[in-house]
């Protein structure tokens, strides 16, 4: 069991620029500016940095689409809405400059002149502090005109209005441009036609922080941590029934068991673990042996997602879990496509009925059918992913749902 502290060491430091500079901060930017943009992308490619927002797409491949056309934009996706995820809050609270440095390096690499931090509206205090951090970076000469010869870059903060779907990159761009935050079908990819039809590069907060680390410590260092396919350190968010919930940092590929041990162990008897956020499957205790990296989780039919781990013990009712999850999907569906708009409401209605003692046996079959249809015909990953939590609860905890419905039968009989 090994822990790393490339992010966590900032926990006890102030978020101001001086503390960050003392801890090697902005030396990565210095290195980047001494290279050509293509060399910077090469370093990120050699480090094999995979996007930390959930999709795990290689950052360098995204950036390579840059043709140097102006204007082009860098967008930092700080719309951390995935239930169970609070790592970006951690980075932006404790080491905002790590993210800002990564953004400036990214801008230099893809020849962008303007950056946006799209932060969720539920983080007003963090947004206020970020304004201050940007001012510090500007005063130190890291932002503004002529940061290096022929390179100028500035960053604006956009506060979201409260929407889960906006975490999707194309939905985020629509929201940023002042539209309803609904996704569009790719292609065109944002790197070709993003904000106002110009090339736009979108990266998650943690990904950009990793960019700073790679330029500070070298790509060899980054590849020496984690697994060959998913290198580097990773922030994991552990919540639910563990003794010390919080953000933990460990190499990619760390086992669930080790992470839960880091968080002080389970309170009571372990029953279920959800990995990857609300759109991730819910596993029984066998998930303790899973290794958390993109490749290994995909091979298990699950997702690493944002690195969220929610631990449930025997006090947790799985019918209630199903209800909470389905209500989430119904309330957050953007409404653009019919299968998701209608399907999520149906699912929520049925799950809610089961919990309220009005569940019917045919609901179970109907719910499976609904998530299948949604998986096949929804417009974006949001509607497609509903099947993961539903099918996993049905697979591993169907006995509990059955008992719930059976009990409802008795209740109804007794009432008659």
């Amino acid at each position: 069991m090994s822990q790393t502290d490339y992010f966590l060491r900032f926990k006890d430091l102030s978020p101001n620029i001086k503390d960050y500079q003392k801890a090697n901060g902005y030396t990565g930017l210095g290195t980047a500016l001494s290279l050509t943009p293509d060399q910077v992308i090469e370093k990120i490619e050699k480090a094999w940095l995979l996007g930390r927002g959930g999709a795990g797409f290689p950052t360098a491949i995204k950036w390579k689409a840059s043709t140097g056309k102006t204007p082009s934009y860098i967008v930092c996706n700080a719309d951390e809405g995935e239930p169970g995820t609070f790592k970006d809050r951690f980075i932006m609270t404790h080491s905002p400059h790590m993210m800002i440095e990564g953004m400036i390096i990214a801008a230099y690499a893809v020849k962008a002149t303007k950056g946006y931090i799209y932060i969720r509206g539920e983080y007003p205090e963090i947004a206020k502090n970020l304004e201050n951090s940007l001012l510090e970076a500007e005063q130190a000469g890291y932002l503004g005109n002529d940061i290096a010869e022929g390179f100028s870059f500035s960053i604006d903060i956009i506060k979201g209005g409260g929407s889960y779907v906006v975490g999707d990159e194309t939905a985020l761009l629509n929201s940023l441009m002042g539209n309803r935050g609904i996704p569009w079908s790719k292609p065109p990819f944002p790197a070709e036609k993003g904000l106002w039809e110009h090339p736009t590069f979108i990266n998650n907060v943690e990904t950009l922080a990793c960019v700073s680390l790679i330029l500070q410590h070298g790509f060899d260092w980054f590849r020496s941590i984690g697994t060959p396919e998913s290198p580097g350190p990773k922030l994991y968010c552990i919540s639910g029934k563990v003794k010390n919930p919080g953000v933990y940092e460990a190499p990619m590929g760390t086992s669930v068991k080790d992470l839960i041990t880091m968080a002080g162990g389970v309170i009571g008897t372990l029953k279920a673990i959800q990995i990857g956020g609300t759109a991730g499957p819910i596993y029984p205790s066998e998930a303790l042996d899973f290794h958390l990296d993109f490749k290994s989780m995909n091979s298990k039919g699950g997702i690493l997602g944002s690195g969220a781990i929610v631990v449930m013990n025997t006090d947790t009712s799985m019918a209630e879990v199903l209800e909470v999850e389905m209500r989430f999907f119904a309330e957050e569906s953007c409404g653009k496509c019919f299968p998701c708009r209608y399907g999520t409401r149906q699912l929520s209605f049925m799950a809610n009925s089961i919990v309220l003692g009005k569940g019917k046996w045919e609901f179970l079959e109907l719910m499976e059918e609904t998530v299948d249809i949604m998986h096949g015909s929804s417009f974006c990953p949001f509607g497609k992913s509903v099947e993961l939590p539903v099918k996993s609860i049905f697979k591993f905890f169907s006995g509990e749902l059955h008992a719930h419905i059976r009990q409802n039968d008795y209740i109804r009989e007794a009432q008659i």
Partner: protein
């Protein structure tokens, strides 16, 4: 025009979220956007009122109808539910005599349930206007409500 008081770099459409936030928080306890303000936004950005309303209605944080001085947003996603959010909701609902989406008759409180405030390790969580309260106990909820009534909390 009131809108002139709000710092606006350009009258571009991308400022719409910023305008919604500023209008809604023109006073810290206002918590909604009036029809007049929506008309002002439409005029400033050169959009129709329907377009402005269409964008606004997409987002959970903005309200076109009056809400209480204190908007209580209780998180009820999985981690918070495991951490007893339902008990917090039930308690507040009973204390204030309102359900989800309702406002007390004195116009002081609006009760809302939201999906994730991004602080799952400190469940249960609640936001009162812009401020996040974590690891809530029912005693603390009591104190918060009393403070709001005395208008000590923002």
């Amino acid at each position: 025009m009131e809108i002139a008081k709000i710092s606006l770099k350009e009258s571009n459409r991308e400022n719409i979220l910023h305008l919604f936030h500023s209008m809604q928080k023109r006073e810290i306890t206002k918590n909604y956007i009036t029809a007049t303000e929506r008309r002002e936004i439409a005029q400033t950005l050169g959009l129709s009122i329907a377009e402005v309303d269409g964008v606004m209605s997409f987002y959970h944080l903005f309200s076109p109808s009056p809400r209480g001085k204190y908007v209580l947003r209780i998180c009820d996603s999985l981690s918070c539910r495991i951490g007893n959010s339902l008990e917090v909701y039930g308690y507040i609902s009973k204390e204030l005599g309102i359900k989800r989406g309702e406002t007390t008759k004195d116009g002081l409180f609006t009760l809302e349930i939201v999906n994730c405030l991004g602080s799952c390790d400190t469940a249960p969580n609640m936001m009162i206007n812009d401020k996040l309260y974590t690891n809530l106990t029912l005693d603390e909820v009591d104190t918060l409500i009393i403070n709001c009534k005395k208008e000590k909390t923002i």
